[in-house]
Structures are given as C-alpha cells and as structure tokens.
C-alpha cells in the first residue's frame, strides 16, 4: 500500500522531510514560519528551486549538466549589463529578460549538441562548456558589482495587493510545471532515460529529445538567474558557480534517479527547499558560526543517503 503510494508520488519522502524541517524551523525560531520569514526563504531559494528543476529535465534523460551554475552567472551579467545599457526603464527590463532567456536557451542548445549530437560524456563535456560560459560571463562583466535597476529588485522583493511578488512567481511556476508534466517531451525524456536503446528502437528521436532536455535546462537556468538578480540586485560573473552541485543534490533529494527515467520536478523543488531549510535550521538552533558549514554538510549527506534508501525500498 505504502509502496504503491510512493511509486505514484515519488516526491512524498522529500515533502515529508521538508515539512519536518519547516516544523523544526518554526520550533526554534517561530518568526521563521511567519509570512515575512517564509517570504524571505522563498526569495532566497527560488533560484535554487528553478535550477533544480532545470537539472531535473536533463537527469530525466540520464544526462547531467555541470554547467548550470555558469549559465546562471552568464544570464545574470547579460541581464544586468543590458538593463543598464538600455536605460533601466520598464521596456528595457523586459527586453533584457527576453535576451537573458535567449542566452540561457543558447547555452542549453550548445550543451545538448556536444553531449547528445557529438556524443561526448556529459560530466566532462558540460564541465568544459561551463569554463567556456564563465569566460563569456567574464567578458560581458569582468568584475562583480554592477547594480541592477531599482525597479527590477524592488519588484522581486515587493508586494502586490499585500501579497509578496515571489508567491505569485511560485504560483505561476506551479502552473507551468503542471502543464509541463503533461507535455509529450517530459514522457519522452523519461523514456530515453529509462532505456535509450529501446526508446530509439521504438522510433523516438533520442538525440533530438536529449538536446531538447538540455535546452529546457538552459531556459530554467535563465529563470533562476532572474531570481538571483532580483535577490542580490547586482551582476556577478561568478555568482552561480557554487549552485551547480547543490542543484544536483536537490534533484537526488527530490527522489529522481541520476541514472535517468525516474523522478519528478516537484520533488526537486522540495529537494531545493530541504537544502534551504537545513541551512536556516542550522542557524536557528544556534550552531556556532564556524560549525555551520560542517553541520549543513553532514545533514545534507544524511538526507541524500536516506532519500536514496527510501526511494529504493519503494521501487522494488
């Protein structure tokens, strides 16, 4: 019974862990579960959630993308530089965001081409492209610190009709994910990840599907870059570097198999949330500052192992 529910909703363990962590956060710091506390949490970790979603689409197909952090950095600097160059008004912001999406898409297509079309090994090939993307980001903006227009980050951190903007963003994201889950591409990606050979033999264009997965990954990485820009209010050519490995961890925490063919984007969102909640909990329980990283690292390692063990139980 339990196993069947878990097989149908593989993100349940992640959801339970996230809820427990949220409760613990509330226990140690009641204000953290207030509207302001939750807004702050969402504001900070929306980028990682989007990046975890991005990573999920390539993991679906059994691939991996170690360049997502570099794509975030590149889109971040392109966005900030273009907004500044085009005047910082409303139209320029939307134009720059459109350009940012195109840059993310282009990066994703490049990754897809080298991994799926040229058949290079995903881990090393996307590491190489991440060096390339970082180079482009450094060319666009050599040093960190160019501020984003006030209108941009005020909107991201602001409220509309008393409701914080990020909650609208989450709602919109939920709708998009719901629609995406019904796309044929999602099923195709999972089919390729489950067994590429039989997917190919049943007539699926495997290479094209994998390229589309990477393209989707690039697009969501660009969205993550928008959130980072809204949160930090500036351009930094290295801002996303540290996020790559966290995005992989979030996907695993969310119950997806790195070997492909199994997982949900919703789970990855909860995975990103777990990382955020662990970080804040470690702070709220009063861990001395120099110990925080170690406790976070240990907690994430244990959560990763627990998630994999629970996931395996249910799939048998």
């Amino acid at each position: 019974m339990m196993a069947r529910i878990l097989a149908r909703y593989p993100f349940l363990p992640a959801l339970v862990i996230a809820l427990v962590l949220l409760a613990l956060n509330g226990l140690y710091q009641p204000r953290s579960v207030s509207l302001i506390g939750l807004t702050g949490l969402t504001k900070t970790y929306l980028a990682l959630m989007l990046l975890a979603i991005a990573q999920t689409y390539v993991v679906y197909a059994g691939d991996i993308d170690l360049s997502v952090g570099a794509i975030v950095s590149l889109v971040n600097v392109v966005l900030v530089v273009l907004m500044e160059r085009w005047g910082g008004g409303g139209v320029s912001i939307f134009a720059a965001m459109a350009a940012g999406l195109l840059v993310g898409l282009a990066c994703g297509l490049i990754n897809g081409l080298v991994v799926a079309a040229l058949r290079l090994q995903a881990i090393v090939a996307t590491f190489a492209t991440s060096i390339f993307f970082t180079g482009v980001a450094l060319w666009v903006l050599p040093v960190a610190g160019l501020p984003a227009p006030t209108a941009f980050w005020r909107t991201y951190g602001g409220r509309f009709f008393e409701v914080p903007f990020v909650f609208y963003a989450v709602l919109l994201l939920a709708l998009v994910l719901y629609l995406m889950a019904r796309l044929r591409l999602t099923t195709q990606l999972l089919a390729v990840g489950d067994d590429a050979q039989s997917a190919f033999q049943s007539g699926l264009p495997v290479t094209a599907i994998r390229i589309k997965g990477y393209a989707l990954c690039g697009l969501f990485a660009a969205l993550a870059a928008f959130c980072i820009t809204g949160d930090t209010a500036s351009g930094d050519p290295l801002v996303g570097g540290k996020m790559t490995l966290f995005s992989v961890a979030a996907v695993v925490l969310g119950g997806a198999a790195l070997s492909g063919g199994f997982g949900t984007v919703v789970g990855s969102v909860f995975g990103a949330l777990i990382i955020g909640l662990i970080n804040s909990l470690v702070y709220f329980v009063g861990t001395p500052s120099e110990w925080q990283n170690l406790v976070q690292g240990l907690a994430i390692l244990i959560a990763l192992m627990a998630g994999i063990l629970v996931g395996r139980r249910t799939r048998r």
Partner: protein, 318 residues
C-alpha cells in the same frame, strides 16, 4: 576517423603528439616556453594533478559509474593537516605524512562504505562527502593557523634532488610504475577490470567486488592526501580550498588518457600524458597576452575539441 593509422587512434599516442604540438606552439608564442627549466616547472604541476588522477583513475576503472568528487576536499584537508603537523619543522614530516594518509584513507573508506554497503551512487556519495569536508575545513581553519611547509618538503617538491629532477617527479614516476604493476601484473588489478566491465559476471566468478570497490575509494583518498602534502610543499602554506581546482581536472586527465568513464577500460599511462597535456595547455593560455575571459573561452572550447578524439559514445543503431 577511419583514414587515421591505428597508432594515432591510441589515446596515449594522441596525447603525446598533442603535447609535442603544444610545446612547439608555446615556444613560437613565447620563446623560452619549451626550455628545460619551464618544462620541469610544468611537470611539477602535472605531477600534482597526476597523483590525484591516479586515485580518480582507479575509482573510474572500477565501474558502476565510479567517480570521486571528494578529492578536492581531501587535498585541501591534507594540506592543512600537513601544514599544522610539521609547522615549518623537518622533524614533523613523518608524523604529517602519516596523519594525512590516515585522514585520506578514512574519508575514502567512508565513501567506499556508502557506495557499496548502502549502494549510494558514487557521484552522490562523494558529492555529499565534499560538502562535509568543506564544512570541516571551515571548522579547522577557525581553530588553528594554516601552518607552513617544512623546508625539506618544499625542497623535495620544487628543487632537483636526483639527475636534475625534483623529488615530486620521481614520486610521480614511482606512482606510475606502481599503478602499471598493480593494474597489469596483480590479481587485484585484473579484478578491478573485471568488476569494472561486468560486475555481475565478476561476482559469479568469485571476485569480492564490494571489498575491491571500497579499497579503490580508500586508495583514491590516499592519493589525494599525498597530493595535498605535495601541494603544501609547492605553495609553502595552505589556503582556503586549494584542492578544489583539482577535482574536475583530475577526471578530465583520466578521460584524456583514454579511460572510459563507463569503467573497465583504460590505464594510468594515458592518464599521466593527459595530466601533462592539460597543464601544458593551461600554461600556454597564461603566456598569451589576452584577458582572463578570452583565456577561459579558449580553454573550454579547446577541451571540447580535444574530447572529440576520445571515447565518444556509440551512435544509436537498431
């Protein structure tokens, strides 16, 4: 690639040829690049990378998506442990070496146990371990100073000790011979290839796959720890996350050496050439007078082009 003579389809031959081409190119771009002294300096850096790559190579050969992302953390940890245990005094070297190897073996053992007993995928296990190690480094760094290398260690790494070659290069040669012996002449080596190419068949044939895989991760931790000690000798003192820059390059060196990430195929001789090639390439880029952004773009693009020569996946066929 069918028109190319078989010899040049060998990864080792490709790597050696590319190293020669790069050295000639470097000499053209900046005279003195291929001087004996410069080449020795490059080899020292390559030895650091190559020693890390030895452990990475073993883990990858063992198959089941074997990979060790925690080596960067172990190198940094080892450098700081060594720096504190010797703290500038030659007398502390034996203790430092022992301490680092124990630490490296311990974290390698944890990786191995997680991968075999709990069957956590190596990428996930070592990624989580990297997070733990990074946290541990913060704790250690807050409690104690970074420490200094003993004079003899620095001398060993940077100064000629025998036939004009620095000690670290002799150490690397020894590692190369050891790896060649281990992989080609011992039962242990044969078993690594056996579990790497078909674990199920190997277990049926009585190979203790789990024990071997644990040992591979332990060895990877030990090699990373040794590299950490040498890195301390090279830079004089340890600083934050010195090891991180070796994590993914150690994997690339293995790939450039012709070892398949799928496991069970390859060896260490190619990896040594791969490490030299990476270091020469990076060095050429630092001699060209362009901005950092251009350098990174060229480096990334060159890596991609070079990868086209190695172990591309098979095309889908019905």
């Amino acid at each position: 690639m069918n028109g190319i003579p078989p010899l040049f389809r060998q990864p080792l031959a490709i790597a050696l040829l590319l190293i020669a081409v790069l050295l000639v190119l470097g000499e053209q771009l900046s005279p003195g690049f291929a001087s004996m002294q410069q080449i020795l300096r490059l080899l020292i850096v390559a030895a650091l990378l190559g020693i890390v790559a030895a452990g990475q190579n073993l883990v990858i050969l063992g198959g089941r998506e074997g990979i060790d992302l925690s080596v960067g953390g172990i190198i940094s940890l080892s450098a700081i442990i060594a720096g504190n245990l010797m703290n500038g005094a030659d007398a502390g070297i034996p203790l430092a070496i022992a301490g680092c190897i124990v630490a490296g073996a311990f974290f390698g053992l944890l990786n191995g146990l997680g991968v075999t007993l709990l069957r956590i995928p190596p990428l996930v296990m070592t990624l989580g371990m990297l997070g733990v190690l990074q946290g541990l480094l913060v704790v250690i760094r807050n409690g104690i100073p970074s420490g200094r290398a003993a004079p003899v260690l620095s001398q060993f790494v940077t100064q000629p000790v025998l036939f004009g070659l620095p000690g670290i290069i002799w150490l690397w040669i020894a590692v190369g011979l050891l790896m060649a012996f281990l992989l080609r002449r011992t039962v242990f080596g044969q078993r690594i290839y056996a579990i790497g190419s078909n674990e199920h068949a190997a277990i049926m044939a009585g190979v203790p796959a789990a024990r071997i895989r644990i040992l591979l991760f332990v060895l990877s931790g030990v090699f990373a720890a040794i590299a950490g000690i040498c890195l301390l000798g090279y830079s004089g003192s340890s600083f934050a996350n010195v090891g991180e820059q070796y994590m993914l390059p150690s994997i690339i060196a293995v790939v450039f050496g012709g070892t398949s990430l799928a496991g069970g195929k390859g060896g260490y001789t190619g990896t040594m050439a791969g490490a030299v090639m990476l270091v020469v390439l990076q060095s050429i880029l630092t001699t060209i007078n362009i901005e950092e952004s251009g350098r990174q773009m060229i480096f990334g693009a060159t890596l991609l082009v070079l990868m086209l020569f190695y172990g591309r996946g098979r095309a889908m066929r019905t």
